[in-house]
Symmetry: C2
Subunit: 323 residues, 2 copies
Amino acid sequence: MIAFQRRLLIASTAMLAAPAFVRTTSAQTAPAPQAQAPGFYRFKVGSFTVTTVHDGFVSRPLEGFVRNAPLTEVQGVLRDAFLPTDRMVIPYTVTFLDTGRDLVVFDSGNGVTPAGATIGRMLTNMQAAGIDPAKVTRVVMSHFHGDHVNGLLNAEGAAAFPNAEVIVPEAEIAWWGDATNETRSPEGQRANFANSARRLAPYAARMRRVGPDSEVIPGVRSVAAYGHTPGHSCYHIADGAEQMMFVADTTNRPELLARRPEFHIIFDFDAAAAEATRRRIYDRVATDRIRITGYHFPFPANGYLAKEGSGYRFVAADWSSAL
Amino acid sequence: MIAFQRRLLIASTAMLAAPAFVRTTSAQTAPAPQAQAPGFYRFKVGSFTVTTVHDGFVSRPLEGFVRNAPLTEVQGVLRDAFLPTDRMVIPYTVTFLDTGRDLVVFDSGNGVTPAGATIGRMLTNMQAAGIDPAKVTRVVMSHFHGDHVNGLLNAEGAAAFPNAEVIVPEAEIAWWGDATNETRSPEGQRANFANSARRLAPYAARMRRVGPDSEVIPGVRSVAAYGHTPGHSCYHIADGAEQMMFVADTTNRPELLARRPEFHIIFDFDAAAAEATRRRIYDRVATDRIRITGYHFPFPANGYLAKEGSGYRFVAADWSSAL
């Protein structure tokens, strides 16, 4: 009798806990697909449409990444940002601008990468965003580091943007285009001479140099931001009363390097100049509350900088389903 | 002759600035599609897969939203977060959990909304994420406010999750399921009695009540978080060494209300209890660095809380293309 009541109780509890038909359904459930969302995001600047497109990420050793601070101090800043402290995760996100007259891309991504690489997703994400490389009319370069120029070539070694003019900062091509500068460059940067020449070669007949603080196309101006490389440039974009700035590599990840603008990283050509530039550019965008996109900012890589202590806090712009 | 040279100069400059073939291409360029990216995002908690799915946003008057602080003070907090100060933008993001045995959804979204509404995007975004409502095995409710229960019904007024068990907090259904409580509820909350009854009706035969701090299914436990409503509950999710918590409406947008936990909003049933709960839950997730998802957090609505001053700062988790 007790056994019977116990069985009844178990049966009732089981029915309450999970009705039979639910359990059957559960057993038959195929797991939801495991794919990540496509990596693109859109917002408006006046009548212009900006699309940020993710190219993936790399994880590199944290040791030695910041040259002028102890590892534990760097780890503390990363920990405060809830980022890994056993490696440096560097994301890559490319900014597109559709002005209605021009389809512009700022820098070109990592380009063709080996199968299984965590970078090289730009073309897939461009496709998801409905952006055809053949329709890009201007490729505007911030600087000539490999992760910014490599995507100029497609898998066949031809122009990845077959119909685009390439716009380069005058000071950048002046440096990397002159082989006599090679021995005057930091050892880790010397590969940029040959690499950038090879990546730019198919565009030789349709390349334009822009000076500092010059109009690139209507609504887009170059902003000299030298230091990270000799001609590293940001781009200010404006339409009507609205504006934004593509800050490129003024810093790498802002959670680490905008928070601590005095940190010098191994990729800086002239770290002192890079720091001075960073403070000048970031003071401007923080003071004027200018929306920014950054190449190594956390996807979707757009937001604002707020002054905080002796540095800046990156505040991601609110994600919106409406443009 | 001067005129001729001038024309030549103009022609050369124009060629340098924009080679003819580029201008032609530019004129032919169809603008990139204007669609926003689909609103879903995935991450792992142990072997479990979490997918957050966006249901859109509403803009409501900011006046009166926070009941115990002057408008200018509220505007100042929003301004610091680079959010609009002339309205309150409230996003809606639903958390799904695939444990391998169960496909769980926490709350149900706004459901069917009029054409042109900025909410009601959950089904479209579920489809983009590959999530079939018919495959959901458990709908786990945090509380019975309309924006959380309305999605239980589809356009035909039938169960939107036809094969799911619905799990409700005992204290929540005890309150809203008893009509004698209506006159003891704040006036703005009285519609919840009839509305929640109607929304839950198709699930009557497959509803389960869970007590505070109880196992819902293996790996998911309820966490009593009363105040926002009489039975408002969070859910703690764990697999292996990894954990997270769905904090539901412990606060509305964290940029405003985690920053200032003492702010009482018009949607709180018992604002003092809601504040005490908020401090208790947020102290726990901040101290233990527990990843959270929130119903009104900025999409993709997952990240961490860090203690800062007398409140908390929401730090979005790093977006990753790899799960």
